[in-house]
Symmetry: D4
Subunit: 234 residues, 8 copies
């Protein structure tokens, strides 16, 4: 089970990419949903031994319990469903990533993005419940202290018709990472309406990640934030 | 071929609904696309004889030519593709319908809506190229003289992600009839992205008609405008 | 948590649009589905303090219980899933909105529309189970006392193939707000068949809202009804 | 190229199913669209030699010309796009199939159905342009002489939302073969809206064939009509 | 609650189409899925009083229990999910409808079709588990006593790729009513693969009903069977 | 219930294809999902009597229990959901099929493929968790002892974007059977993204089976493996 | 432009994979559709210099002309749209691949498959126009001399509902490579119906390639055929 | 037509967003496709007067001609379809954006991205025809001088299954902007397969823009590149 010289550790049921942080600047992250119960704690243990920290997304309460049996220091946030073992020495947060979401029902995805970005060392400001049906709420968040305008990257989270991404894209000069959520009903088709909306944004500077993929947005936002604060992305 | 007592005229290839204006307050309108060449001029002639006017949508230049051979007074607008024979005495325009569109490429559909609403007797104001990527353009149209705020009904025409409808819906207190257009590329899927966006609008007071259906929006806007000016919808 | 001069109240997890009623004529309404348990009662409390009333749609029994703990006067209707706190002085109902539905399984959505319209001050008549497979049932509702023909706006609710909207649209001269429902099976694809059917209605004067969106239809119907009774839409 | 004892003739590029009429009561029919130019005339010739008649659907003008070079007696109808060689002794028409269509733009598909049914020996009545937006036109066709009510089978042809099939299905007691057409625009998605509508008909006794498939409907209607007139379906 | 002269009984929450049997030859049938608990027993009671029998499809065990409280004679088949009250004097079965299905997992839908057809008075033969992966099983059922070949109509039930309908269509001379089922996995998309397959059948004489709609197929098969046995369809 | 001379055994509710192994080289396999409880044990018993072994896929724990009541020797693997009765004399494993999967969450489908291939007599090597996000893990598996390069056929199992199939296809010279899995979220649409990805592979030599269909891939891989080891495919 | 040691030749606009034949056993093949006019002849020239032969699929007549200007020996088949430069010494054809297609309109795709397989050295038998609507035609091809039964691999090409693949899969013991074609109309959705049908085949041993992808099927069939004739796949 | 104080110039048919560069750091760009002939030259003229430069995407040859009549200095690239008027003093190019594409048919979209990024001041390196079917071509581009590894942002352009984005994403530590192209056939559904593939990338740091949207990718890449070179994004 030790590092095999090929850049990964072979656990039999899994090959942990120990080479990843060196290659990409980010450690391997565990997508918990659907992982068999027998594997998850072992994967977390292995990562903590190797890295001193671990991050899992889409974890259930049940999975959190399994991991805590072997790693009592693991913390679980039921809103964002993030299961993590933080490093002993806290990472200092740099730069500025703004996380914006349209409605309170989008909060879980926004929080996944915000917490992951912080885990990766980005300073985050949160601007929630600022959907376009009440435009003044969004506009009011633009230029205040620690407002959206000062960010190096904006993560825009919205379900339903996802118009928030386009409106934000028209107001800022930095990249907007758009996250469609599965919030909505009927013809939202579990987030497809917001996804298509964001892909077709009439505003420039908007790129889209998968439905409900707060993690992916945070990863990109951190890459961009790192570049902006002067170091390399990794 | 005369009225048969059953509320329609039977032309063999078509049954003209002579009862319609009495029943709905609007005369029968001809959807020209796909009508065989041999039928269209006869349908127009018949309607003009009965009503003194006629309106066709989605007419091609070729079809306009065919109809003008028998009805030289017919006028054709290549932008909106409307083919019409106006009544001898102009209809006076009442109330206020605001037609708003996102980009210049949406103009054909917006013009279809504006011209049809005028044909049906609504006073129309046009507010074009006010997409949400440059929000100040839209906001500037709200409260000026004959601005959007004063309308009894707003027709919001947009392709791409169709966010205009949601933003307008959040700014006005009257019904917004949203018209998705097939403008866009890639994952706009010929207007489906805008359609889904509008159906899922987070703003209230937004109803949607078919893709590129400026006519349908004008019909509804006129019904609402008529109700607002004090008379019945018909 | 007090009004911040920017037209909304910031509760941290939510920004209540206190400006909305002034801007649109309707108070903010709460879409309950998916709202975290911790937030919903606070949102209701805040709205009741500000407005003396509150309306939530898509509420579960569980959510109703949570809200009643802090607002015992809240009432919940399990059919329409509406959770509401009525104003102390009942609103007087004006005008006429007709709510029509195709089958008894469409009743929940129709009731959502009817109750919301009444909450907003519209007088409502109900015409349920009048699907086109037995056309005489619908025709019989047209011209009777308080029949469909007398309405300022018709809300047509139907699942399966949604043909009711087209047939009603051909019979009346006022706007028809079509609400597709997810009733049906197989190739109804959770309401998509009815949705497409209504968007493609061969009858004019039909606009469509999202699948199962009785609330949205009621909102529009009330806007139209208000215009028709002589006041402004708000 | 002669019959090979296996129930088909092998032309190299095609295997003509000479066994089909014996097996199914109907001769092989040629779907012309996409057939290479070199093959079509030979196939027609072969069928005429074997059967004394031939029928092709979806034929282009160009294909009609190619076939007429070798079979000058072939007739082509540009509306229904049927290319046929009639038998020398006309078939006598029996029973009653009613072909109903919603709009004049649906006429080509309705005519394909009507002409094919006649080719196969069914007596056909045509009831065109009776869409549900003007219901009285349809109702007027029900009980008149040779009206829809007297048919052994109804073929209902409609594009847009295809509501005609449901309404007819609610009015008659015989099978309705529904044919969605690609007539419409926007969210009709080339007939998919009408197709889904017909598959989800709330009326019973409605079966659906492929979009624009007038031929298939005529085939089925003839099978049913033959059963009704007392003989076998073949 | 008595018949109101308009051809239906108004129960408040439902309008029972008492005119239907006279108009279509079949009594109103209850689609149980989604009906509120409070309504279903009353609807059954009303139909039994009026007709002496009643038929409900898609009934759950729970719904069966509710109805049996008021109508103890009601019988429920958990495979086909049919809930019915049979007439006191059994209907005599006439003609021949063959019900064919591809796999044992399609049995529930096939049984819905078979039992409904029997309820409506058709003699039914069952030919189950004869999918095209083992063609000899199907061929063996063709010409045996009471085989498929002798039927006036064939109901072909299949999930997965639904090829059974095409193969049967090529072997018989009577109408084939194809019923796609939601049996399958992955890219069957809950029956859409089979549905599209059947709509595109290369064999003639195949018409399609909704996914899992055994009832609809039985209704059509009975109409055709009645025509074939010499009487009218109703 | 004995063999009836037509190549199948008729159990009433099922027709077991006893002819299949002779015809195709593989015994009939039971797709357990959705089979009624009453039938499954009988089908297994019948197959064991006839063949001395039986294989069922997509079996639930509950179904495994039912079968074990009558066949205690049946073994069930909860990961792959395979329920099987092995032959008394183990089959010797020949050739080489490599099963490759992208992530640990794809393991259930990969194991279904691996176990089925072994049941059919193929020697299998497993190469799991080698997704393209860490390419070195895959490359490391190519040329080692019993590496992917030595296989007669590769089964490539992947969810999300399914890129593994293309990358493997570019590295080997034998057929790659691609199995999309439903692993992923949001716009993976239950495996459709991976399915489309694999169907559109830019690498040659890649054929695709249904989503999550490990069984189908194993069947094909065994056919190919048999051909390669010198015997016939059956 | 010479080989750069990295296993490919860099032409600036293209990097020719000179390593491919060594790696996969097949030379790089050119997908002509969409290639800019300026590039195609150069690519062909380069491949011919390197390999003495070249193969392009989806070539237009226009593209064939461009290539022939620089490589007069190139031959073009307008049916299969294959543009090829054959090696000077003909390849000897080994083994047996059967190419089966449903209708004459599927011939172009079947011919693409047959010609490509021959180009790669496989002996091919052709069995065209054997769709399941006339099953005896297919059955007659099974056991005759050079019949389908003797092949090492079957390529099954079909449009419409694509049932041919399932039926063939049930009759043979070797792999069936299914090729859906875009032949059909209406709800065939350009081959999607056949594609889904083939992916959901109830017969085992069926793998699917992209719509109209005769080339891909031939590639796979050749790999399998090579394995069967005793050599390696490459 | 002069600046109106509201941050845009009103040309009647268009409202040019003169405020945009100040607000977002990029001038307004013209999406040419679908713009009426009468408007395009005026829009270009206006932008050149205001900014000294102009950029249009998706321009046809015809549109290029129209603009050149009034702006002879405009240049048009038929591959990327970009129509531009360059500033008199060339912009100096800074930083490093790598544009990577899978096949030569993807070149037009890749060139749109590369040229737009250069127009906006980014230094661009091009790495074309490096699809994953020949992985060594891509790997060879990573670490060479001016290789992919040195970029601040990678634009990955691919059609078919779009696997290139995932593979690149696994190899670099900077953001990857993925551009699906409509290159492919059959089940690529005009780029939808590549789009879904990229949205579901198993590699982190991949964000997606619309199908064929090279412009959008260049815009984002420039924003990121500007942040990385030390200045602000605008």
């Amino acid at each position: 089970m030790s590092e095999n010289g090929a850049g990964y550790d072979d656990l039999g049921f899994a090959k942990l990419d120990t080479n990843r942080e060196k290659r990409t600047g980010f450690p391997e992250v565990v997508f918990c949903e659907g992982k068999p119960d027998a594997f998850l704690p072992k994967i977390f243990q292995h990562l903590v031994v190797a890295d001193g920290r671990a991050l899992g997304t889409r974890a259930s309460e049940h999975q959190a319990g399994l991991v805590r049996e072997v790693l009592p220091q693991a913390s679980y946030d039921p809103v964002s469903r993030i299961l993590s073992v933080a490093p002993e020495v806290p990472v200092s947060l740099v730069g500025h990533v703004a996380v914006v979401c349209a409605g309170t029902a989008d909060t879980p995805v926004a929080e996944e993005a915000a917490r992951v970005a912080e885990f990766f060392g980005s300073r985050v400001t949160r601007h929630y419940d600022v959907g376009v049906a009440g435009l003044h709420r969004l506009l009011d968040q633009m230029d205040r202290e620690d407002g959206i305008r000062g960010a190096n990257c904006v993560v825009a989270v919205a379900g339903m018709e996802g118009a928030l991404a386009s409106v934000v894209g028209g107001l800022v000069s930095v990249p907007v990472i758009a996250v469609p959520t599965s919030v909505g009903y009927g013809a939202s088709f579990n987030g497809m309406a917001a996804l298509l909306s964001m892909l077709n944004s009439c505003a420039n500077g908007v790129a889209t990640v998968n439905i409900d993929n707060g993690f992916g947005a945070a990863y990109l936002a951190t890459q961009i934030n790192r570049l902006a604060v002067g170091g390399s992305a990794s």
